[in-house]
């Protein structure tokens, strides 16, 4: 009889499930059938004991959410000691249930014990909150409820704490994202357990926000999840709740999802899934958010039309703001600047009004574009704010290109998240490099801290997988889409070129590191040629790290990190130490790009003569216009002539000086000396010479003392002094001597001086790498020591990372490398000179 009753109940649920109606109504109905069966079993069992007792449903059974293979969680509470008779009664309940092949979870307690808080069993504490009388003595159940469940009961606080812990642990397992490609319908963020958590927190926590969204939306989301869960139980024959790729087709078909092909139907199903998961997720977030203070503090202005209050940014006038879409991004910028969230008022405004506006309306001018780049600077909170922008639809409105990958599913073994969530996770991973936790990650954290324009890397990450909406080569498609978007907002072309490079080649470094022999010099050479500069290498390396890590948990292992780091170091060394051996031979080098746009005043012969013998790196670090300018500067050079040009970059704070002259002994020291005299802080630069003895030195520096900025004649004074010094008419050493003490007194934070000599890496040069505190006059002191040791400075690479100067000199003596003794002597002299400068 019991078997038939259960079979009928299950058949009922199965029929509804096959039609995708196994939601709230169906699972409650099945729970009610189970109640009837258990009540009948209890009728016989209760005769075995005289102790009053109650049979209580807890957990999912208590909530009446019984899918086909859900556990039946029972608690038997006895109002008295549990002896032999009570144990027989328990068995008389459990054995028939086991014989019916139900999965039973059971606990047996004495009523007196239930007042003792069992904090070692958090799941039990939480399960009790759904306790429901099934059979037995109702008085016992009511007394049990008084202790465990009613308001003011002693178990409320530990239950809340246990619930918050469990939610946190569970979300951590899923990387705190609801955008799982194969979601666990029960446990994933935004799934069924979160619904239970919302209701429980709202019921227990007097400080919790009341449910801010319509309860109907939550019920609808819960019903949807249960309908899927019922199908999973039916198909798998067990209590397994992961919506695998294979089962997504089955579920989509059962739901009648639109589309002719299975993958279209699955796309529609998963889009609906993520919609409901987001509702649940937002519900949980707003339920756990602290209740606003009463009375609320006064709002504080934080930007144009924006106010901040209790760590939330809102519009001062929501109605006015709804008509000014170009200001919406400002709310997110203010939230980042003030370590706050964006309020529901802002998000709701964007959701309601966003579809009115074309992408151009969000970026009417340069100010809005600049604001976007400020927002995209990686820092704590960026992932959260971008997630809000995405969830509210702002990101997709500003960039329809990004909207193409909304909830886009990639079905393969490794990818765990939708493409849009994967994209945001790459940015989260980059954000975390700001505070790396392991020694392995600190290496990469160092690179992150050195990036010149980290917002360009973030821009590249935003667009790097947008091309996946098609089946075409997603890298090239991504470049095409990104360039369209970035030109629309009038991003400068050099920045677009940087972003496009990263998108186009974002898989290359992982291929080289993990699929090729990264120790092979040819692999390193190819990567060095691809990236061209240290900055691009750092960008690509970090992009690879965060991209692989965002594929899924444990994809980027410490082992892979080591491989990636090794490749980075070898390529960095190739770029900075090995570039001198790779020179331009116009007969063998492709100069098509330069010849295509050759101006009328420059012949190919002029171009070839200038470029011959320069390192090939030069062509990767300057654009054609700069090359033509350099060729013009190199014309009609007398032995003591100096031709130079002084420019200003777009950021208006860094100046660039280009000096072209006939190579001569101590030339580099002289030029550095002049710049030091005028107090210029040299940040970056390179120096080289061609086969015909023409030296080209390029310096980027800041005018720290505003000499150029505040003196109309400063430029001509600087150029005149340069000409005098190079021509030998002024001794810069003597001119600088009185200033030396002043220069030395301007101390930078101490960096341990490193002077490393490498006589093996290059076939032609002895290489000296110097790390020291960035200080005025540093390059002058170094180059003077080198020159005093009769060494010729053939190539120089200058870079500055924060307070640290990193300078690489390629030297020769009498046309060849220095001997071991000569390099030792030079190293000692450099260490002495740099130590003396650092001395108090």
């Amino acid at each position: 009889m019991l078997k038939e009753a259960l079979a009928t109940a299950r058949d009922e649920l199965v029929s509804q499930t096959r039609l995708a109606y196994g939601g709230l109504f169906a699972v409650r109905q099945y729970a009610a059938r189970l109640d009837e069966i258990i009540t009948r079993i209890h009728l016989a069992a209760q005769k075995l004991t005289e102790t009053p007792h109650a049979l209580v449903a807890v957990g999912g059974y208590g909530r009446r959410h019984m899918c086909l293979h859900s556990d039946v969680d029972l608690l038997m509470v006895f109002d008295g000691a549990i002896g032999a008779a009570e144990k027989r009664a328990v068995k008389a309940v459990l054995h028939p249930l086991w014989d019916l092949r139900l999965d039973i979870g059971h606990q047996v307690r004495e009523l007196g014990d239930t007042a003792t808080v069992d904090t070692d069993n958090p799941e039990y504490l939480i399960a009790l909150r759904d306790a429901r009388f099934v059979a037995g003595d109702k008085t016992v159940f009511e007394r049990f409820s008084d202790v465990c469940i009613r308001e003011g009961a002693a178990l409320e606080e530990p239950t809340l704490a246990a619930l918050r812990d469990l939610v946190g642990q569970r979300h951590t397992q899923f990387q705190h994202t609801l955008y799982q490609l194969e979601p666990d319908i029960k446990d994933a963020p935004g799934a069924l357990r979160d619904v239970s958590a919302i209701r429980l927190i709202a019921a227990l926590d007097r400080q919790a926000q009341p449910l801010k969204f319509r309860a109907g939306r939550l019920n609808e989301a819960e019903d949807f999840m249960l309908r899927i869960r019922s199908i999973l139980h039916l198909e798998r024959g067990r209590n397994l709740n992961v919506l695998t790729h294979e089962l997504q087709e089955t579920v989509a078909s059962a739901f009648g999802s639109p589309g002719e092909k299975p993958h279209t139907q699955v796309g529609a199903l998963m889009s609906t899934y993520f919609h409901h998961a987001r509702i649940i997720s937002r519900g949980l977030a707003s339920t756990v958010a602290p209740r606003p203070q009463t009375p609320p503090p006064d709002p504080v202005p934080v930007g144009d039309g924006l106010v901040g209050r209790e760590h939330q940014i809102s519009f001062l006038d929501g109605t006015r703001a709804s008509l000014q879409p170009h200001l919406w991004l400002g709310a997110f910028e203010a939230a980042l600047d003030h370590d706050s969230e964006v309020s529901d008022q802002v998000l709701t405004c964007i959701e309601r009004h966003g579809d009115r506006y074309s992408p151009e309306r969000f970026f009417p001018g340069k100010a809005e574009r600049d604001r976007l780049l400020r927002v995209l600077r990686p820092r704590p909170g960026l992932y959260a704010r971008l997630s809000e922008m995405h969830a509210s639809g702002l990101l997709g409105r500003m960039f329809p290109e990004f909207q193409k990958i909304y909830c886009h599913v990639i079905r393969d073994f490794y990818h765990k998240y939708t493409v849009d969530e994967h994209t945001l996770l790459t940015i989260r991973n980059l954000e975390r490099l700001g505070d790396p936790k392991t020694p392995g990650r600190r290496r990469f954290g160092g690179l992150f801290a050195e990036l010149d324009r980290p917002e360009l890397l973030v821009t590249a990450l935003v667009f790097h997988d947008v091309g996946k909406w098609t089946n075409r080569n997603h890298c090239e498609e991504g470049v095409r889409m990104a360039e369209t978007a970035l030109r629309r907002i009038r991003m400068p072309e050099p920045d677009i070129a940087n972003v496009s490079f990263l998108i186009r080649h974002h898989l290359q470094m992982s291929t080289a590191a993990f699929r090729r022999d990264s120790g092979d010099p040819e692999v390193v050479e190819q990567l060095a040629r691809l990236v061209g500069t240290e900055e691009r290498l750092k960008q690509l390396c970090l992009m690879t790290l965060v991209d692989v890590e965002a594929v899924g948990p444990d994809v980027m292992t410490p082992w892979k990190e080591d491989l990636l780091w090794r490749l980075y170091v070898d390529t960095y060394n190739r770029l900075t130490l090995g570039y001198g051996d790779d020179v331009i031979d116009p007969a063998a080098t492709s100069l098509e790009a330069l010849l295509e746009t050759l101006p009328p005043d420059i012949t190919q012969t002029d171009l070839d003569a200038f470029l011959e013998g320069l390192p090939r790196r030069y062509l990767r670090t300057v654009d054609p216009k700069q090359v033509y300018d350099h060729v013009r500067l190199g014309r009609d050079l007398g032995p003591s002539d100096v031709h130079c040009s002084l420019g200003r970059d777009l950021a208006d704070s860094v100046r660039e000086l280009t000096v072209v002259s006939v190579d001569q002994p101590k030339l580099y020291a002289k030029v550095c000396g002049v710049l030091s005299y005028f107090g210029m802080d040299i940040l970056r630069g390179q120096a080289m010479s061609n086969t015909h003895g023409v030296a080209l030195d390029v310096f980027q520096f800041t005018d720290a003392e505003q000499f150029l900025g505040q003196n109309a004649s400063a430029e001509s004074e600087l150029i005149h002094r340069l000409q005098e010094v190079v021509a030998g008419r002024e001794d810069i050493d003597r001119t600088l001597a009185p200033k030396q003490r002043g220069l030395a007194r301007r101390r930078s934070p101490h960096i341990k001086v490193v002077v490393h000599v490498d006589n093996q890496y290059s076939d032609r040069f002895s290489i000296i790498e110097i790390i020291a505190s960035n200080a005025w006059g540093l390059l002058y002191r170094i180059s003077r020591v080198i020159s005093d040791h009769d060494s010729n400075i053939d190539l120089v690479l200058i870079s500055t990372e924060g307070d640290r100067a990193i300078d690489v000199f390629h030297l020769t003596r009498n046309g060849g490398k220095l001997t071991g003794a000569e390099t030792d002597s030079l190293r000692d002299a450099l260490l002495e000179a740099l130590a003396a400068a650092d001395a108090p």
Partner: protein, 110 residues
């Protein structure tokens, strides 16, 4: 029955897998490992600072094969993994006393 354990370069794992598969060996265990041979790794310089890279990333592949297939498996691995340079790796053969299938409890006759 023998375990054939190979330690190879990371970029050779696909070649070795394919070579084994072509020789009728399908089940395998692949592990990311670090190690060094007699050369004890090497040192490298980054920004003027020298540091030792004594434990190099490698891949360890283990297959269990019947005695009759051992030579074929070894030859397949050696051919696929070799570059001729230091760091190509090693192959070891280890006897197996017994193997059991967890799902069925049966003795594994490879």
């Amino acid at each position: 029955m023998k375990i054939v354990k190979a330690i190879v370069r990371p970029n050779k794992v696909d070649d070795v897998k394919d070579a084994l598969s072509q020789n009728g060996v399908s089940g395998m265990t692949v592990t990311e490992v670090r190690g060094h041979g007699r050369q004890r790794g090497h040192s490298t310089v980054y920004r003027g600072s020298e540091y030792e890279v004594s434990l190099l990333p490698k891949i360890e592949i283990e297959v269990v094969v019947p005695d009759a297939l051992v030579d074929d498996a070894i030859n397949a691995i050696m051919k696929a993994a070799r570059t001729g340079e230091i760091g190509d790796g090693r192959v070891f053969v280890i006897p197996v006393e017994q193997g059991l299938i967890i799902r069925t409890g049966e003795e594994d006759v490879v």
